[in-house]
Symmetry: C2
Subunit: 204 residues, 2 copies
């Protein structure tokens, strides 16, 4: 049974994320709207100790701005040589107003004397589906890689130019959107979101 009116509200203004989500769900009959279309909104604090909790609270918080199911995400980069940092602080690693470049520079500095074999890291992404202030379900995706000693590539955003996938011999910033969605933390979480909606739509 088709449900042509299924709507999903994306609780983000980040164009990079919106593109990745749109791409991952494009084969489903879902109409997307985003936080960019909301004139005045309060920004949800991201002060929880885990990526999971940040995603959950964002999903619940932003669901007040839409009648639709609301999808929020939080992402962390966990670097072994930094004992899991920046983790939940990844987006603001170099400070509250840090640019992607500031964060990448800080990461390179902190890893300055760490040899390649010890630069292992993983990206963790949690997507949280909220509805009327409540959490419906969370979706997790992870991706293992290495932190390079200098940036490579111009695609993507955030730490993508430093995050290297040995099996592909490329950084995230050297992958097309399609290639990245197939293996990335957010891509894998989105695959689970996709399966959830596909199942719900099929079940009517």
């Amino acid at each position: 049974m088709s449900s042509p009116e299924t709507r999903l509200f994306l609780a983000t203004t980040n164009e990079g994320k919106i593109l990745e989500i749109r791409h991952a769900l494009e084969d489903l009959p879902i109409t997307l709207s985003t936080l960019r279309e909301i004139k005045d909104f309060e920004v949800c604090a991201e002060d929880k100790p885990t990526v999971l909790e940040n995603a959950i609270y964002k999903g619940m918080f932003y669901s007040r701005y839409s009648e639709a199911m609301t999808l929020a995400d939080d992402t962390g980069l966990e670097v072994d040589a930094l004992m899991g940092r920046p983790g939940v602080h990844s987006a603001r690693y170099a400070g509250e107003t840090a640019t992607y470049e500031d964060n990448n520079m800080k990461l390179l500095q902190e890893l300055e004397n760490i040899p390649e074999a010890r630069r292992t890291a993983r990206f963790v992404c949690v997507m949280a589906l909220g509805f009327r202030g409540r959490l419906i379900k969370s979706f997790l995706g992870t991706c293992e890689g290495l932190i390079l000693t200098k940036p490579r590539g111009i695609q993507g955003f955030g730490y993508d130019p430093l995050f290297y996938i040995p099996a592909l011999k490329k950084t995230f910033a050297e992958l097309t959107a399609e290639e990245k969605n197939r293996i990335s933390h957010r891509g894998k979480a989105l695959e689970r979101v996709h399966d959830y909606f596909q199942y719900s739509l099929e079940a009517g």
Copy 2:
């Protein structure tokens, strides 16, 4: 090149975990010892806000009791209807001296009025490899499932009798050690530990 003297110290006294780890690494030429063989040891605090950090600090902390590489783990059960709880508190959910049964009872009580479709949960396991007080690498594994309304099965330990895998129509406590290792959070983390040692051994 073979390294017959490779040794690994397991930073746990939990027989269930020791069996799972022994099984997962049995094809490798690694000699295992465990915390059970240490007469007097200080117990590492597990007070970090994330499963990752608890595992890392345990791996570093217990590496003082062995000259060998030291493998520690931490595990959390993240239940959507409880907004990610018990999470990092899973082992002591019903209190400091809680038994597995106490924890399972508390979980069932907290989910009392939650219908099946909303009882989604995931297990998260991080294994951390420490050496001489330092973290070498962390390994993550996850497993998605549902929390039943009453326990089923007698294998395994912890929350296993309540953790149901829809694709297998069984709880973790209804699986053999082999079946569980193939799909569980700890099994998947151990697969990564296995690959790490296999690669290191092959590289000499």
